[in-house]
Symmetry: C2
Subunit: 345 residues, 2 copies
């Protein structure tokens, strides 16, 4: 539905976490990303060719993805001006911001006049049901986190790829705008009306009967005062058989809230298990994923080894070191469950 | 903004919990309710005069309040037909259902043609911020529950009245459609977009400096698989100093989910305290409110006494027995805190 390939927007950003949608697309869908757009004061790059809108269109780009995030998701004046210029140059616009493109009259006017499309990836589908907590067929893994933006989407995507590589049917279930742009489907969970959070997850991860796994992208954190409600509903709707805890070991305060410190891993594991047990009493933790992108390799490996030992769980940086140990644990417990089930029969 | 007095709608309802908005208005705002509208197959009454739309208009009614609830909040064909007839008879329409009056073309057409107003009480204001978890001045009490529809709004309203009667400044902060219709203000929390749940509560309960209390109406339950996300964000946004746990002792399964049993009071108290501590480490429980409306008086009193003893907390049915013991505990701990603060200074 969204015309590809993409030009990825960085704008004036100087906050690595703020460009995570653009970076996620560059990393996981390089095949559909022709370049990046950034202003001179932007200190970041995706290592794609830097292009203005006309050059991007000439190179084949058909949609400018406003792949930047900010608390509250406002559409600032700079974004509006850039989007207008991009449309003049021939590009459609896709956005994952809370504030909708279609609510900005200047963009709507330009889209109509120029025949361009405006895609608000954060508009949920209209038929989301209230959650019912009924046990569904099939197996589900959910990534949870000590904070927002600690690698839940990356971890989930790495797990989905690695499972598929082992020949196990595996589907990535996107719950955020980047994931949706990558997967082509999913639910923008933070934009769903509060009463329907768990129902939205039940809807995107229905019964499955092929012995495969749904890998559900987590959101927020039970310990984030702004977003824990989303994380709670997600845990209940996912009714996960397996959890992977994601963590940024260098994070000193909760994302956007300098007055809150991240929880310890043990507290976070326990809180997630306790919450998840409401809809799946058999939930287990099968691994810990650390985002070590800011650490050197020896330190990262040592930290993962120490963490694995402390919690008796496989631990790795999924993007840097792979997820094989976590998958071994996941499929081990899976096999054990199957064996028990067979014995019972 | 909504023209009074009201005609309260019962329609075809035979489920007492389904008419809680209409009943809440009849109980707490009898001064603005002239009658009830029900079809012949409706087995319930608010003990108000039964009126058709024309008679209600003649008796002074200006708005039909569609004060009934159903899972998902759909606007059924019967409601649409009744609302159309009411508009023809001269009445405006107010609704707390998820599905909006303004999204039903027949209602919009009739409203325009007849000059009537359509009020969707569940439309949140557009400027709700993301929560920040910062400590606010003033004191807050939040009602929490073992389930939905166990008396949180009644309890909160009783506490607000009783506090005011003792000369303590007290404001009821509504978070549901009935509460909003009663108080004339508040936030329809279950209709807020998921990322803004805690921020919505921070907004309706800002800093206060008059030594009074905000009494915040709870929603859902941490143990309800459909709605625990709402309850979690509400706990975090309220940053309550005091909790009152509300419970229906005769409830055998979670509201709308026959496959889920309600939690025990001890588990529920502990889970709410644990969740609330994220934004207020000093949170305390000051009482338990039982909805004993289906029990005889001796049994109700005995159960409250047993519960009080078991948990070392004041326990009553607020509507039936008052809330004086709970207020004593609340103001005691309040005085203790003030004394400690003075000593520290």
């Amino acid at each position: 539905m969204i015309a590809t390939p993409y030009l990825l927007y960085l704008g004036h950003s100087n906050d690595e976490i703020g460009i995570k949608t653009s970076r996620g697309l560059a990393v996981f869908r390089p095949d559909i990303c022709v370049g990046e757009f950034r202003h001179d004061d932007c200190g970041l790059t995706l290592n794609l060719p830097r292009m203005d809108f006309a050059a991007a269109y000439a190179a084949g780009a058909r949609t400018l993805v406003l792949g930047i995030a900010n608390a509250g998701g406002k559409l600032g004046e700079d974004l509006v001006q850039d989007a207008l210029a991009a449309m003049e140059a021939g590009l459609d616009i896709a956005s994952g911001l809370h504030q909708r493109l279609k609510d900005e009259p200047r963009l709507v006017e330009a889209a109509v006049r120029l025949g361009r499309a405006l895609h608000d990836v954060r508009d949920p589908r209209p038929d989301i049901p209230v959650g019912n907590g009924k046990k569904r067929a099939g197996k589900r893994l959910l990534t949870v986190g000590t904070d927002c933006s600690v690698g839940k989407m990356y971890t989930t995507l790495c797990l989905a790829r690695a499972l598929a590589a082992r020949g196990v049917p595996a589907d990535f279930r996107a719950t955020g705008q980047t994931g949706i742009l990558i997967a082509g489907d999913g639910v923008p969970l933070d934009a769903v009306v509060a009463d329907f959070i768990s129902g939205a997850i039940e809807q995107i991860s229905p019964d499955r009967h092929d012995a495969g796994w749904d890998l559900i992208e987590g959101q927020g954190s039970l310990f984030h005062p702004s977003f824990a409600g989303v994380s709670t509903g997600l845990l209940h709707g996912a009714q996960p058989d397996a959890l992977v805890l994601c963590h940024d070991p260098l994070r000193r305060s909760m994302r956007g809230l300098p007055h809150y410190t991240p929880p310890g891993l043990a507290d976070c594991l326990e809180a997630n298990l306790r919450t998840a047990r409401l809809t799946n009493p058999d939930v287990r933790v099968v691994g810990i994923a650390l985002n070590t992108s800011a650490m050197d390799e020896a330190d990262a490996i040592a930290l993962c080894a120490r963490t694995a030992q402390e919690f008796d769980l496989p631990c790795s940086d999924p993007y840097r070191m792979g997820v094989e140990a976590i998958l071994d644990r996941l499929l081990e417990s899976d096999a054990a469950t199957a064996a028990t089930a067979t014995e019972t029969v």
